[in-house]
Symmetry: C2
Subunit: 357 residues, 2 copies
Amino acid sequence: MKEIKSKIRIKDIAVLAGVSEGTVDRVLHQRGDVSAKSLEAVNKVLEEINYMPNLMARSLASKKHYRFVCLFPAHQPTDYWQSINDGFNMAADEFLHHNVQIEKKYFNQFDAQTFIATSNEILETKPDAVFIAPIFRNETLQFTSKLVELQIPFSYIDSMIEETDFVTYYGQHSFQSGYIAAKLLLHSGCANNKILIIRTQRKGAMSNQTLNRNSGFMQYINDNGLAEKLELINVEFKDDDEMANLEVLREVFATHTTIKAAITFNSKAYRLAMHLETLKKLDVQLIGYDLLEQNVDYLKKGMIAYLIAQRPEKQAYCTVRDMCKELIFKQKVSTINYVPIDVLMKENIDYYSRFKE
Amino acid sequence: MKEIKSKIRIKDIAVLAGVSEGTVDRVLHQRGDVSAKSLEAVNKVLEEINYMPNLMARSLASKKHYRFVCLFPAHQPTDYWQSINDGFNMAADEFLHHNVQIEKKYFNQFDAQTFIATSNEILETKPDAVFIAPIFRNETLQFTSKLVELQIPFSYIDSMIEETDFVTYYGQHSFQSGYIAAKLLLHSGCANNKILIIRTQRKGAMSNQTLNRNSGFMQYINDNGLAEKLELINVEFKDDDEMANLEVLREVFATHTTIKAAITFNSKAYRLAMHLETLKKLDVQLIGYDLLEQNVDYLKKGMIAYLIAQRPEKQAYCTVRDMCKELIFKQKVSTINYVPIDVLMKENIDYYSRFKE
DNA sequence: TTCAAATCCGTGTTCGCACACAGAAAAATT
DNA sequence: AATTTTTCTGTGTGCGAACACGGATTTGAA
């Protein structure tokens, strides 16, 4: 159990095994040209000690260079994707001296053609690895099949396509996070009176994440026999017309006077909060996703009761780090990695945001 | 704003400034013996580019060795302190190749004499830095004053003594975590009927952390005008006699039939959960601190409603890392660092525990 | 037996940095 | 002007690992 921690070098192994450094190196890297005798001697020593190569010396000496390309949506500085961007930057800093170069490519998340175009550009440059936000399922499948052909490893970020052969996925279990959202919103034991729920969603195809959160939310309601007691009101927000959204809400509240709770399954809870503030509906419990600046502002103000967060920077960072582990350090990494479902409220948001680890 | 990320070496700076590598090195490390002309030339180049030394090459070349000593309570593998231990081990692994050696020293947290004895032992070995869990205030003050004398930097872990001159502190804002505990336990809008609260505490001096959590808890009650509506029942648990504890509880429940919630401010919520299970009091909302295995088990079973966690491994890890930054890499670190107040329930505990980043 | 091919393995160089040391240049002293 | 002293600076070595190179040994075929 007790592993002694001391620096063992190739030179030490060589002495212990009675061979030269070069031979130890050949054994370690399975480069062949080693006699059975030497091989056995070295392996014996390796079994006894726990050799941990000095990764710093290794990448210093290594002449190999790696180019990793990230493919994800173009965004504004306050968007969710900015956090992903930040995580990639963190990784870029850290692995720069390990001869890793990180390149970012963006596509328009409302236009599949831009995804295709950009992914083709990427293919032409023959990167050593690719990180993909698979917003467009079919287009992503096309892309990854070409990557497989070219033997370029890739990882998913944000969501994944299970049947493809990716290296890692870091993301939240959306279903479960929807379940938790429902619990937080509805678990006050006093559900004897009707509670109404608003759901806002972008028109057209909802993203996988959003759909799964919704399913989890409904599951909680069913699990707790709340389907009868609750009335769910679906409101569709327009992406570009907040005046219209406000009017829709005004109408909803005119016809339904006992609305006590509201939720959005995308990251735009602040829009709902904004309108509720305008309408002076301060007693509506609101829950949303992701720590956009505007969401956080409304959380601190008390207009949003809970935000569910998922450490997007960590997701991006870990994705890059694991690719380095796999490709450069030859360490095994686990494929599917769910990140914590963090529950934030105005009382703990500050400590959470400030802690950048 | 846009900092170009490319590898700039001392050699490059030397060429740009028209001097030799040695001179650049002398400027960078302020070792003197540089003519005004050369100094200016090098500084000019340094201002223009953003030189980031290759830390890996640096510690490879460096012959300096560092010995960091950790001083914290001896513990069982299931204790809270084990997580701190784990965090120190993680750091030990990571910084081993930066010529950092980490030594752990334990004291008996119920016996100040062992703290004094061990701290004296540490002083004799003249370490390069010390990490202290300041369980005993006066004894810690004595220790740190000697450290200051010997110019040995030190950091606090778990709690801190503000007026001393420490490098970092990583820990939770206990007051706020108590406040949140109260909110989670009591915020169900339906507080019209009386809710009773049990608090268990070890006899004798409660730790600072525990006291602050308690204060935060009371603050929430006052802030929300619940003082009148609630009755707080204090129960003192014995550390070594669970049979007695059970009997005390049995009596309490006999006299107070409407107990709806319970809390412990230390990390031993599982003891309370265990007894509540025995007494078949399954409708009591229980909240506790820290992810001990046993706590997590009861959380998953549903006997504990919430656990508040504080990433102790991260605390220990960051403490070591920051000391390296300060001492070895000459980077500035921030002194007081509050970690997130994580809210765990049976629905998100799995993703949290499995995520080891 | 001879010789080429296959197999085996030690040496030397490289990476970016720190630091020692020698020795050049400048300044101060005869 | 010749010297000593002081100030300054370039070169060289080593850190640990990777890998190319080529010399040494073994094997197999002729």
